[in-house]
Each structure stands twice: as C-alpha cells, then as structure tokens.
Amino acid sequence: MTATTTATPPPEVRDERVARVGFWRRLLLKPEFGSLIGALVVFVFFATQSSVFWHASGVANWLDPASTYGIMAVVVALLMIGGHFDLSAGVQLGTAGLTTAILTTEYNLVVWVAMLVSLAVCLGLGFLNGYLVIRTGLPSFIITLSTFLMIQGLNLGLTKAITNTVSVGGIDQEPYFGGPEKIFASQVTLFGQKYYIAILWWVVFTIVATYVLMKTRFGNWIFAVGGDETASRNVGVPSNRTTIALFMIVSFAAWFVGQIYLFRLTSIQANAGFGFELIYIAAAVIGGCLLTGGYGSAIGASIGALLIGMTSQGIVYAGWNADWFKFFLGAMLLLAVLTNQIVRKYAEQSRR
C-alpha cells in the first residue's frame, strides 16, 4: 500500500512471480496521487484566468485559507484512516477561540492561562467524543453529530449569556497579547511578500502526522483500527486508546486553529468554525482517504486543503462571484471520489 519504498539491500534476488511494477503504476498506487493532479489542474486553470493568482501576493492569499484548512484536514485524515468522523471538529475551534477570548476579556485571566484552560476544554471534548464512541459502539457520525449540535448551541448560548453579544473582541487590549500573537498570527516576509506563520504550522502538522502514520507503532495502530477493529483488538492493539487519542488529536488541532483565528482577527464570532467540518472531510477525501477507514494519507489531505484554498481564492481572482465556491468544492469532491475509485481498481489489478 502506501508503505515507504525503503531501499532494499542490493543482493536481494528478484522474485519472478512479482511483476515489475512500473513507475507510473507505483505512483498511481499512492493515495495522494489524485489530489496532486487535481491541485495542478486547479492551479493551471486559475493561473490562466488571472495573472495575480500565481504572483507572490496571490500565492500568499490562497496559501492562507489552505493553511488553516490544511492543519485540520491532516488530523481529520488521521481520524478517518482510524475509521471515524468528527463532525464537531469545526465548532470546536469556535469553542477554543471563544473560551480564550471570554476568559481574558470577561474574567481577566492572563492570556496564557486562558489558552491553557481552552486547551483543556478542547481535549476534554475530544475525550468525550472518543469515549462515547467506544462505549456505545455507535457510529462516530451519529455521536459527533450530536456533540456538534450541542457544542454549536453552547458556543452561541454561553457567549450571549456572558457577553450579551454574539462576538467577543478586544483581546488585543489585554496584557501579554503579543506573545501568543507571535506564535499564532505573526507574518513573515519572504522576497518582499508577507506570509502568515500558519503556513509554517501547516507544514509542521503535515510532516509530523505523516511521520506518525508511516513510521511509528501508533501509526500502524491507526491503520489497523480503521481497517478492522475486531481483528486489531484480537492481536493486542489497544484500539480504544487509539480511538480516543485520535479524537483528542483532532481537538488539539481545533484548539490550535481556534487560537490562530482569534489572534489574527483579535475577535471571534460565536458561530466560528461552523460548516468547516465538511470542508475538512472533503479535503481528506480528495486527498485519498477512504470513508470506510484503513486507507489514506496525511500529505494527501494536506494537498486536498491546498486545492480547496486555491479554489476559494481563485474564484475571486477569476472575477466570479464567491458564492460559486461551494459548487466547485462539491464538484471537485465528486470528481476526486470517482477518480480515486477508478485509480484504486486499476492499482489493485496491477497487484494480481
């Protein structure tokens, strides 16, 4: 499957039963292949529509949404490979930002402390999601649909009850604001163009997730639990702990992205993150994740997010109404699933 083709020792004799797998076929076998082609096509398409699209300012512009989508898409991909969904991933980042903002502005907590509390809240939500899923054995789709709705309600209800409005602002007036702002929302100038630091975090998340998935025991367990949970439990994989850990990783990323939004905008809406959960799942699927679990890649999800980021900004550069974005997103998703299916069939045939 996606396993790294590490250099085998040279004296190895080729087995005549193994058909030589050609370079192209081997490339097709990678789950991220489809999204890579898709990203290239989308890039070329919008680059021909508008010259700004491929200039530094344009690139910085579409890398920005791609980065925050990407961080989440990567962890959502891990969860999907582990066989689960998290529909509450989007609203959790709202919770993360709101908690930090409310605790600092309304309760005068030091920003850093508020952030820690917010992190604890998010990890708690992730734990709750995972715990409910393993205890009830219900599909995570249903469990997280209910937590999604509840969290959405809490975000709105509590924010209104505490601040009497539906948005919390003014965090930039608080002491120590500069520290977390540097981490989450600073800008780096490269060749005269400013880029948000979130792009760097996106790359870090992608590398770490890929490393964990491909090179560690935990990664092996993720594939196993998603591929066949009973089987993996029978050979001693701690499947429950793996599942809970995956949900908590998603929540951690939601906290991280929530802080990015908060410190960048210095204010946050009570409905922040609502609707993003489907974009993350779309990115993961475009990146080659199977809805049934056990198969996929973090890099693929990352490229999927890049593709979505390019489309969301490209539409604007091409001079179209931004309302068309969702249509394109849906069309790309459909196209991606269809190609993935065809590619996988072709790839599986080459194995026989």
Binding site: T6, T216, T230, A231, S232, N234, Y295
Partner: protein
C-alpha cells in the same frame, strides 16, 4: 481429499515425558439458561495435535473463546503444565503462550503483510519521543519466518487482502509461532478452503507440531482431522461425545460419530419417501450401512 493431506508421524503419540501442556478439566459455560458447554475435558501435549470436532452449534467456538480469554468458564479448570490458570483477557492468554488463529485471522486486509505480522507487537528503535517502528526489521523477520514455514512470500509490501486463503492462514500461523506461542489454537482453518489449499494448511499444522508446539485444531471435517490429529474430542450440542487418543478410534468410527449415524439413516428414509430422484435415499442408506456400527 485425504490423499493430499500429510500423514501424522506415528512416533509422536504419548511421547511427552511429563504432564500435558494444557489440560481442560470439566469446563462448563452457560449463557443465561442456555448450556453452551457441559463438563468438557481433554488434554493437549507439546508436539501433538488435539482435534476438536463438532457440527455447527456444538460449542467449539465457546471453547476456543474460553481458552483465548474472551470468555471465562462457569465451572471447571484450565491447567497449563499442571498449574491452574484463569484468563480474564485475551492478552493474559497470549502472555501465557496461547495463540489463537481466529477464523477471521485477525488480519487487516488493506495493510501490508509485514505491518500485519507485527500488529500489536511492533518492534521499535530509537529513544523516547523519537521511538519509531523498526520497519526494516519487521520486513526482514516476516520474510524469514515465512520462509521457515516453507513459504516464499513474493513481496512483504503486498496487502494481506491480495493473498489467498491458505497464504493468509500461513501468515497467521507464522506470526503465532514467531511470538513464542506454546499452544496454537486454529479455528476452522480449512473450512473455507479448496482441497489443495486445505492440504497446504494441514502441512503447516504438522510443521508447527514438529517444532514442539501443542496444537488445537478445530474443524467439522473428520477427513482433515484424522491424518494430523493425535487426540480427538467430539462435541455435540455442548456435550462431549468422547475424548479419544488416535489409537482408540479409527477414521471410519470418527466419521460415523461426527455424522451421527442414526440421523443419517433417518435422512435416508425421508429422502426415500420423497421418492422422485432415482434412489438417492437408497444410495445413502447403503453408505450408512457400510459404516461400522
């Protein structure tokens, strides 16, 4: 079919000098008012194969699950090397050296052979947070263990889902052997296989036995059991029909006990009454008559 199966070496029975590796002593298991197993006893010695035979619903699966720690018996004892044992989780049973190869083989079809081989017990290298799955070692060991079982796997990167049924069994058996199993439980390893593949799996059973493992081979096919077995436990509706050493029972007796001779005669009569299809009943009756009573 039996011709393709390797014959057991007659030297092994009762050659064990000390007590049995595993003794099952009057085990009973109830689920509510349902008696799933009633006072079942048998023994497994190192280097021998104990076959557990029974039709569907005989209680074979319940017995395996007790041995592998999924269920706990309501009565009776399990003794390993004369020491009473209780297994409250599959892990405890594994740690005691009992490896169960379930019908689903506990393998993940989408994952590569070497990833499956070490699933749950991955070798690691590195230190602390940089500890990682030692993949070179995993691939090397997988290849070697499979070679020791007489299988030259084509490509350890191949997903298990692309292997044939017999090959999958062999991976599961090789895995159990590698992880230091003393007692190997095989749950219907031949039931879903063709004649040739079943023969191959029987060969692996003999190989595991010759390496000094105790083997429990669960099957409903006496033709698969007889050539490799040293001891036979017959189950029917949760009760033992008998626990025989190979010297105490012939292949035909085993087949007859398994098939339930009286029931076959009944079936023959019924088929005769249907009448239509030229003498199936008579044919069956003749078959039944030819079995020793």
């Amino acid at each position: 079919m039996t011709e393709t199966a390797p014959e057991a070496t007659p030297a092994s029975p009762e050659s064990g000098t000390d007590g049995p590796l595993l003794e099952i002593r009057e085990i009973s298991k109830f689920f509510g008012s349902v008696i799933s197993l009633q006072e079942i006893s048998t023994t497994v010695r190192a280097g021998q194969v104990t076959c557990i035979l029974g039709d569907n619903g005989a209680g074979k699966s319940t017995l395996i699950k007790i041995l592998s720690g999924v269920y706990q018996p309501d009565h009776g004892q399990l003794l390993m090397n004369d020491v009473p044992m209780t297994f409250s989780t599959p892990r405890e049973s594994l740690d005691a050296g009992i490896a169960t190869v379930f019908q689903d083989l506990a393998m993940v079809p989408l994952m590569a052979i070497w990833r499956n081989f070490f699933l749950g017990s991955e070798p690691t290298k590195g230190w602390g947070p940089f500890q990682r799955f030692d993949q070179e070692k995993a691939k090397r060991v997988t290849r070697k263990e499979m070679l020791d079982m007489g299988i030259d796997i084509r490509d350890p990167d191949q997903p298990v889902g692309t292997l044939s049924g017999g090959e999958r069994q062999s991976v599961a058996i090789a895995r159990a052997v590698h992880f230091g199993a003393k007692l190997l439980i095989l749950d219907e390893p031949t039931s879903a296989l063709g004649v040739k593949q079943a023969g191959v799996v029987l060969k692996y059973i003999v190989q595991a036995r010759d390496r000094g493992l105790g083997v429990i081979f669960i099957t409903h096919n006496p033709h698969h059991a007889y050539p490799v077995g040293d001891r036979f436990l017959l189950l029917k509706r949760g009760k033992s029909l008998g626990d025989f050493a190979k010297s105490e029972i012939s292949r035909d007796e085993l087949t007859r006990l398994m098939a339930g001779g009286a029931e076959l005669e009944q079936l023959a009569h019924e088929l005769d009454r249907e009448g239509g299809r030229g003498g199936i009943g008579a044919e069956m009756a003749a078959e039944v008559q030819s079995l020793p009573h």
